[in-house]
Symmetry: C2
Subunit: 124 residues, 2 copies
């Protein structure tokens, strides 16, 4: 079980099915069956996804006869947005802190350099 709220939120959002469920809930309350319709997975699987979303505080659930309608609770998403905002200047600097390391790195690029999987290039 994930203790801190932000981790629980990110973990809940890491699954595309769950993000799709949230997206669906934007257009209003829905039953479990309705939420399950677009997916090929079983009902219990959907049920588990909903439990994860509920634990993360991203949905709330009601009771109407045998239905348990879900609705969006976007509160934790504000935390996500706020958290990401702290990094805005780093994605704004066109290439991630480009200015910071250009002088350091570029003028010694024959020796070092940032490659995808380390330095496997031939060296002159």
């Amino acid at each position: 079980m994930i203790s801190d709220r932000l981790s629980a939120t990110f973990a809940a959002l890491a699954d595309p099915t769950r993000r799709a469920i949230l997206a669906r809930l934007v257009s209003g309350e829905a039953s479990v069956t309705q939420l399950a319709a677009p997916f090929e997975i079983s009902m219990p699987a959907i049920s588990k996804h909903l439990k994860v979303l509920e634990r993360a505080g991203l949905i709330a659930r009601g009771h109407e006869a045998q239905w348990r309608p879900c609705r969006l609770k976007a509160g934790p998403l504000k935390d996500v947005a706020d958290w990401a905002e702290h990094y805005r200047r780093y994605w704004t600097e066109s290439f991630d802190r480009l200015d910071d390391y250009l002088r350091d790195v570029e003028n010694r690029e024959k020796k070092h350099g940032y490659g995808k999987h380390g330095d496997k290039r031939k060296r002159a």
Copy 2:
């Protein structure tokens, strides 16, 4: 392995150690040993976290002698921020779509209602 980029990003961010590493990288490039310092886990564990961050495109790695300095790559965080922004109006509506369901729900709250774990309350 996670196929879509957004899922990989969220999954990477779901771990507090990894978020702390990103936060540290805001103050500039750092070696693996430097990044590991604040934590009690082993070097291989840190190495794995860095691999996750690298795969998610959140860091880039260099080569300097036996060091593999890391730097922040905030690109994917913009996607996170953009994604979250779509839900702004739902967390802005003070209590998550409050207006949408107040009429529907509140006037039948004796029968139904949104509780933490379903309707376990006594009914009149």
